[in-house]
Subunit: 453 residues, 4 copies
């Protein structure tokens, strides 16, 4: 989900199916809290940092701040707040991400060229929209409230999704600077802890159900449903993510030089780009082949922690590594089956104790001890699955702009599951389907091994 969350519309089933059950005051407080978190994440960045787009997939931080505000303005304030005054007539063109149904928009690869409006204007834009949203939440009639409560919820999830994107993107931006500047140099360093030993958890065969049940009273994106049956053969999952140290052995064994481990497209990508290690690994002193690596993190360049999970590799690398070990990646159904059992055991508090954004590390950490269930299922790294991203049986994209959100990306991408060290805790679900093209590496992707029993 490299870019964006669904633009809600009145007809949007997935949005309409969920409404905040607490008080309006509580929602207003939550709105203020999430909006404030976004600004706090941008606080360490200079106007120059927030301007840069380091590749077409990346958006400038300034654009993120504006786009998520445009979302509330376009889908809630303009259609439902009769007294709302548009902040600027050109912002709809500049800050629409990809909705063909909303009309023409600025080309994605050129987002970094738009030096004006400056960051200060975007902050004014945020304040303008926040004031209107706060007023609307407090003052909407009950009828209106029924129409917009689901959309507000969607807007907040959208904002949280962009919090993760903002951090992924600024990490890439800063990594392009030969000075390797830190987003926040004070972030906790590696603990020095060893990773727990690799164990296995077994799961039996059976006809299970996966996917989100729209009636459950929990928010979900449209691509997480419908809930449906699927048959699983017996399998097992590794107790934790693959570590940097384990991945170094793959490299040392010539993993990047031997075609036999790779999918044909993956091998082509390795040759084309000259990959020899994950995206942010840097060999010490430029002595290529030395095998001594540093890793660029949001805290700057640091010695590679062998105990921490390997991250920022592509699906192709994850798959080749799994092949090298004689194992494989899990399917998304296998992963969700395991996560659902874990959720049942923890009373659905699957994010508790997980290394997510709130933990403040902004980097994967060594696995702790597994207690009856795999550890690191949530947090640390999004986990590559061997499943191509496609529609669940019975899926129909909603009509209108909202239909563009997930359905139109259902080709050529692979599903990732879980969450990572920069995912907001409230944005985590066992049914969540993340997806990236198999060559992409700037997301916090990691590897959990699986095998047939």
């Amino acid at each position: 989900m490299p870019d964006d969350a669904p633009p809600p519309q009145k007809s949007a089933k997935s949005a309409a199916s969920y409404c905040w059950s607490g008080s309006r005051e509580a929602l207003a407080a939550r709105y203020a809290d999430i909006r404030g978190q976004t600004e706090a994440l941008a606080a360490p960045l200079s106007p120059e940092d927030m301007q840069v787009q380091s590749m077409p997939d990346v958006s400038p931080a300034k654009w993120h701040l504006a786009h998520i505000t445009w979302f509330f303005e376009t889908f809630i304030l303009k259609p439902f707040d009769t007294g709302y005054r548009e902040f600027h007539p050109d912002y709809n063109f500049l800050f629409n991400s990809y909705y063909e149904a909303i009309g023409p928009r600025h080309e994605r690869p050129n987002r970094g060229l738009i030096s004006r409006p400056p960051v200060a204007d975007i902050l004014d834009y945020r304040a303008h929209v926040d004031a209107a949203m706060t007023g609307l939440i407090a003052g909407a009639s009950e009828n209106l409230w029924g129409e917009i409560c689901g959309l507000i919820e969607l807007g907040l999830h959208h904002e949280q999704q962009h919090q993760e994107l903002l951090l992924m993107d600024i990490k890439h931006v800063l990594s392009c600077n030969p000075l390797y500047p830190a987003y926040d140099a004070t972030l906790a360093n590696g603990s020095g802890a060893a990773a727990s030993p690799l164990g296995w958890h077994d799961y039996g065969e059976g006809l299970i159900e996966i996917g989100h049940d729209g009636s459950a009273g929990v928010f979900a994106y449209d691509n997480e449903g419908p809930r449906h049956k699927t048959w699983l053969e017996p399998y097992r999952l590794a107790s934790r993510l693959v570590t940097n140290g384990e991945y170094r052995e793959f490299i040392a064994d010539g993993g990047y030089r031997r075609a036999s481990h790779w999918l044909a497209d993956g091998w082509g990508t390795v040759q084309e780009h000259g990959w020899t290690a994950p995206l942010y690994w840097r060999e010490v002193d430029g002595a290529e082949g030395s095998g001594e690596f540093h890793e660029f993190t949001l805290a700057g360049l640091r010695p590679l922690d062998d105990a921490a999970p390997v991250t920022h590799l592509s699906f192709y690398e994850a798959d080749a590594y799994a092949d090298w070990t004689g194992k494989r990646l899990a399917t998304e159904a296998e992963w969700e089956n395991a996560a659902t059992r874990m959720a049942a055991d923890t009373g659905d508090n699957i994010e508790e104790g997980a290394n997510l954004l709130a933990a403040g590390r902004l980097h994967p950490a060594p696995a702790g001890k597994a207690n009856g269930a795999p550890t690191q299922m949530i947090g640390d790294c999004w986990e590559f699955t061997g499943t191509a991203y496609g529609p669940y049986p019975g899926f129909r994209a909603p009509d209108g702009a909202v239909g563009e959100y997930n359905g139109k990306f259902m080709s050529n991408q692979m599903v990732l599951r879980g969450a990572c060290a920069v995912t907001p805790p409230a944005h985590v679900r066992a049914t969540y389907r993340n997806f990236f093209y198999p060559h992409m590496r700037w997301q916090f992707g990691g590897v959990r091994l699986a095998e047939d029993v």
Copy 2:
């Protein structure tokens, strides 16, 4: 399967699991028959025709004639025929298709640059190998026979697969010539018959099995197994393929100009290449927008037959068309489930009466009347499914070069099922999995609609 069949090895499970059950004389006759068919297909072509490579995906006809011969030489004669004398030391480099394990090879996009050896030498090469193969079939000891009978079978399937590729490829070559020359101008023209009306066939929910059962005594490629359980929701399939006339309505309705029907990658491809119709449609008099089309066929340029199935479109176009109708494409499990029932009804003679290579049309024909089962399931056009090509549960690629055949292509491609008007009849199975990248159009792909019940 744009290129090639599996290079057998002794360890190859799929090859070893099947051995010709008839007499050696009968196999020798079948060998001679298939090899002769290939040469008959090349007979209408001049040396110049056989030299051209019109795009990287296409191979020159001369290369096909040599590569399938190299296959017998490399995997059977060299390892098993102690008296065999290699025809030419450089041919292994020139005619290896993509087997990394076999060593370096000539680059695929440059196959058309190799003017020498000339066609005459390749025919000598064929004769040389045929003589040795004939001797080996007759004279091998019983022990040796046990080792090679499966490999010979594989080589023959490989040759048949390349018969289809040779025709697909030469069609593309000739289409690049502004004179639109015919491969064979005497091919039967459209019958003038109308297509049967579009009906629907319903299938119930249930836990079914798909895939090839290795023990069944029928040859199959490795990617067709293992046989495994899968759950199906109730669905229905259209009684026949979508016609040119139906597809013209999609075009007339602005199908190629409206993003909402398309996958995002598909829409990007349409924009990039300026697609406005299937690959071989040509507007009359170049009057773009007139809606009067001709179609380039192996018989040359002909007026578009509205009753014939639309063909030579990409997965993206097939999917967009289905979206426009409010339906969808079938999954490969849905397709195979229907084909299996049909096979049961016909005593496995699914290719009987089908429009395959032996029918001599070399082009899809209007659907006849459906009798209780969907028609055109086999022949006319390969049918796009909505399933991404990946490994079946429990699939492991065999070791060695044979492992490169199918497994390494399991990313970014889509499954097609059935067979087409240039597929040899003996090359047809209900479990057969064909696959192409979603933007590819030069194969004979077509559309059958499906929907949820």
Copy 3:
């Protein structure tokens, strides 16, 4: 000269051949004045504006501010000021433009990705270097003064050259913004004056001399010499530059749609990029073909002034326009011969009254009345010549880094002469050779017609 001025070295003949003849106090004042002008030009720009690189040829304003400071630090302070303390060890890598001899450097197309150091640090860097330079100018021994006075002069010319580049570049950056923001919205608008009528000035045949005479006590770049003989046939020059109104007639007559006026490479470029007008022209209301244009200027988008010179076209367009009129472009020798006579008439004050940077318009203006000599020879627009940029007879590039300045660009580019509306007045000479690739358009290039007598 898209990028940069020569890095001086002790051996640099062109630098050594000239030394400031005034007092040290006067040079210190001039140093302060020029450095201050640069900062004044950057003053209207936000940190976001100064970060953007809109294409590989463009550098961010922040980079310009730093690079010209690096020049003084690298070529004067480090080698000659024993007490100098380097400002930052990484700046040599970041702010070297293209000198292979100086060592590795940051890749040009990625200058816009370097958000740190921020603008504030660059201003500190400037102050640090300015303090050291001021001290050095005041305190250098007489011996040292002899060594560095020419280098200081070179550094100041380099800085002036970058003042022009900074404005060219920021114009391109702002033009990529769909809001068309102004660099300075208060700039003088078109006067409403008509252009003077087009007349002609004749020049006779003869063996003349062109190029800079190194002994003349006037600063020049190495590529302006040696002074040498060349033979001219009789010719005439137009009395002024071609206007927007005249160029519109070329467009209206199908100039961009008819191959016969174009060089083959030019026609290919027109097709590839879909050019239909000069770089910064925009058709009103997007009504392509309407012929009503606005022009983007440093003051924002303004109605096209038919009387002003056409600018921001490529050599290919200049040449095609000239062909359409039945005339041609002048050679650089023809241009310099005319300019030299004009200089003789004006006592070398060729920049007096010219529309240069000091005039504060930052855009070409309609031609005034010509008095005996062509007008607009200096200022308004750089004038395309029909001469490929190459070495003068006897030219040898100096050794060392300085040798990379001009010599290595002597292929595939065309010479432009004169100066433009954003050139600093003191940077103007009749012998000055500017050069750009024939497809480039973001410099202020214009057209003066010539013909054989």
Copy 4:
């Protein structure tokens, strides 16, 4: 002149200015002779060889045979022979090279895709046109003769030019084949002779004239005139071409790894393509860095002859080599001045004894002894000059299609002078201007050093 000769028109000055002064019978014999030579050059090639286009700059041999025939048909038979019957209506589209004025044409990079018409048809086409031409030469009225005699001459020069192109092109085609097949394996091998020692010839300063004088009764292309004055400083030319052995020293000294010898565009080209030696050099056993080379020739792969001239390098390499020696390339005026003196000494028989096509070697040979004048000025290799290809003073491209021949290529290319080992003798003139882009290498280009006195 990578492609083609000028399409004559009645208005074409250069064509009209020359008419064959001998008898019609003699011209008919010359016509038959030249046409027959072309077919003799194609005789060693198979239909497959004649089909291949190995890069966009190369044309298939079959296309050459057809295009030069189209030239006579289009510019002489169709307009002037009222009884002429067009051979095939599509050939005008297929075999027009680049004349925009003649109408649409098949795209150059796709010439190799046109397998039909086959070679046999092209030979029929040639015979058809030859019969008509022979009839026209014999039977034209005197008036008509006056109109067409210059055009016939032009057609014959055009044919000769394509004889050279055919050999250049087929050499490139065969070089792409890993078997390195020979065009003619019986060609004379290197003599084993040493090259004559390198000497120098001096030339004084002065105002000279170069270019072709249209009234001289000798055929020339339009770009060779007008004859005009130019001033030369004193200079000297090397007595022979640079040898392979001398060029190997440049390589051994790191010439391809050191930026300082190269033009910036040349250095970029070296990096982009990874050049380490001239186009057709191959290191023995693939042991890169060994310094032991073979060279691909029209006789196949042969050990590199140190005494023979280095050939098949680009302008960039020629210029870098000259820089490495501390010398330079000559200007075209310097070269022509020397050649003109030589011609005066030899009574204009400058091609006598030269290693041209008629010598039958088809490869440059070691220089013999120089007698008072530089040797190898004509033949062996085209000599790179340091002069960008542009119009001579007073040059105006003729109106109509003929105007497209030379004028439209006058940007971005460099002039080469002399002739090479595959140039027909009658196609040689001291004023002849050949031209190629500076990165091109498949022509027989070589290096003669020059320097200032």
